[in-house]
Amino acid sequence: MNGPSPRMGRSLLLLAPLFLFLIGFFVWPLFSMMSQAVSDPAVLRLLPRTADVVGEWDRQSPPSMPMQTALMDDLKAVDDDQALGDMVRRLNSARSGFRTLMSKTTSALSDAANPPPDLVSIDKRWEKPEFWIAIADALSPLTDRNLLAAVDLGRNAAGAIEHLPADQSVNRVILVRTFWIAALVTFFCACIGFPYAIIAASLSGWKRDLMLAAVLLPLWTSLLVRTAAWFILLQEQGLINDFLRAIGLIDAPLALIFNRTGVIIAMTHVLLPFMVLPIYSVLITIPKNLMPAAASLGAPPMRAFLRVLLPLSLRGVASGGLLVFISAIGYYITPALIGGPGDQMISSIIAFYATGSANWGMAGALGMVLLVATLLLYSVYARLSSDEPGRR
């Protein structure tokens, strides 16, 4: 290229609006979500004056007078008791003894009649650098607490990473459950989708069109409509239970909804097209005469399938599987409507943290875990589907 040509300028001009739009409303939101996960400005907001002066401190010498004054001013200005409590809890977990020190200090500061000249006069412990180091660390707006908590880890008093106690370990269960449900759905989609695609690819004319239309119709139909449809089919007085009772297979209705079975059935239905279509698109590129060739060379049908069709279509199965898995781990609507409390996946938990308890840090951290997993899998998928291997 020698210099910007008018054509290049035109291309840039055409690309710019969408590029800027997506940077602003797609990339930025994702980053701000991730920054929520690693930022914790609670202490910084409470102690702005302290933050100004602590930055110049060498972390070894006893606290200077301006530091003490700044902290006193900050503590006096605090009017949010809950935020103060959060801060104390955090400082106490970094340095035990903070709780008593703080309560002593705040009560002394609130004694307007007899203002203390400095902090050391309230408690000798304010002379020790350890307590100030704890404050200085807590002032940093970056934290790995949420990210660690997302995988049920935390830091102990000494700052080492360790497992959270069992009663706080909910996220790992949900992560494992998310991947397990996604894996099951992928498995069922493959079991149904692979033979289905093979049959469709082996047909021609209206039969093939019919089989493809049966895949495309649900794909194009609203996800909510499909979920509602499964709701109707699976409920206690639903068509499936009615049918099974009518043919005398069961006496009492099966529990199909608000449990794992329902979630898997509905998700398999919703995601099956994503399995069938990639496999089908690979299968139709395989020359029609390879299977006859294998037969003419003496391969019985099963061996011909294993040696020729299966290896050639594996790429499609892998793309389809990844596509289904990627979609499944991010699923929200179907588990939310068809699943029970024990079937909620990571997306539901993120939504809960974000909208239910306004814990943006945790929502962001779990979101980051999900996003990273998704993007990793997607990069594998993208490589798989763009790699035109040296065949054909």
């Binding site: 054509r7 290049m8 291309s11 840039l12 001009l13 055409l14 690309l15 609006p17 969408l18 739009f21 997506l22 409303f25 797609f26 990339v27 930025w28 939101p29 994702l30 701000s32 979500m33 991730m34 929520q36 149904i192 289905y196 049959i199 469709a200 089989m211 049966a214 895949v215 649900p218 194009w220 139909t221 609203s222 909510l224 409509v225 499909r226 509602a228 449809a229 499964w230 709701f231 109707i232 089919l233 007085q237 639903g238 068509l239 239905h269 099956l272 781990i329 991010g330 929200y332 409507l337 997306s347 993120i350 939504a351 974000a354 909208t355 929502a363 962001g364 999900l370 998704t374 997607y378």
Partner: protein, 265 residues
């Protein structure tokens, strides 16, 4: 022969699995009962009345149309322009640009929703039509890009060169040759954008306020809280619309195929 029967049975059962749920919900739209179960006691249009005249549903439909139209317009304009820009093969970041444009399809909706809520709140766009339209456009635009780049890739560039050689300036070439040839792709992109917006729930949950409740959002909470045959009536409309949209897309695709096929000898 037994192999053939097994294949046939398998195909039939799978088709049943794929299509039967969609068919099963349709008759319930016409039930007179207040519960969503078979058998249907008698036929009635009361749930369509509910859908069109009950305040919550009617507002939801109107909101869906407003937001869908806004999304379609924005996504189609942005997506078509970008697809035209992507035609330049010399462009260095072409691959990464394309990936960026398609990525919103991949990112889990809840993750995007959390980020979007934080960001739109910062801009004061939360609980506004503009905010919802922006959010929907982000996830609708990849469909437009895929559809339009597909149509553009089908255009024989020699046709444009021919137009140039016949004396048409670039703008005229674009208006008289490129755009008409890409039109089916643009239209089907627009249709897909509208359908995406219509069906979008998760982002709506995060960024829309009670005044921007869309039909899909209303269906979601209705299934969750008080399920009624109004859902089936809404589903009926959705499926009917899907089939119409599907036909439109298929038609425009075949139109595209016909147009871009080189003239037979």
């Amino acid at each position: 022969m037994p192999m053939k029967i097994a294949k046939f049975t398998f195909a039939l059962l799978t088709i049943l699995f794929l299509v039967a749920p969609l068919i099963a919900i349709l008759p319930l739209a016409f039930t007179s009962s207040v519960i969503l179960t078979y058998p249907i006691p008698s036929w009635s249009l009361r749930w369509f009345e509910e859908l069109f005249f009950a305040d919550a549903w009617r507002r939801a439909i109107i909101n869906s149309l407003i937001i869908g139209a806004g999304t379609t317009l924005l996504a189609t304009v942005l997506g078509t322009a970008a697809s035209l820009g992507l035609r330049n093969r010399l462009f260095f970041f072409r691959g990464s640009m394309r990936t960026l444009f398609l990525l919103p399809m991949v990112v889990p909706a809840v993750v995007l929703g959390v980020g979007m809520q934080v960001l739109l709140a910062r801009f004061g766009l939360i609980n506004s039509y503009a905010g919802v339209i922006i959010a929907h456009t982000v996830v609708a635009v990849p469909f437009v890009v895929v559809s339009v780049t597909g149509a553009l890739a089908g255009i024989d560039e020699r046709v444009e060169l021919a137009a140039q050689s016949l004396g048409a300036p670039p703008v005229t070439v674009f208006r008289r040759v490129t755009l008409p040839l890409a039109m089916p792709g643009v239209l089907s992109g627009a249709v897909l954008a509208f359908a995406t917006s219509l069906d979008e729930v998760v982002l709506t949950l995060f960024v829309a306020g009670p005044n921007q409740r869309t039909l899909a959002r209303q269906m979601f909470s209705s299934i969750r809280e008080n399920i009624s045959p109004a859902i089936a009536a809404a589903a009926f409309l959705f499926i009917a619309a899907t089939i119409l949209i599907g036909l439109a897309v298929v038609l425009s695709r075949s139109m595209l195929a016909k147009r871009t096929r080189p003239a037979a000898s």
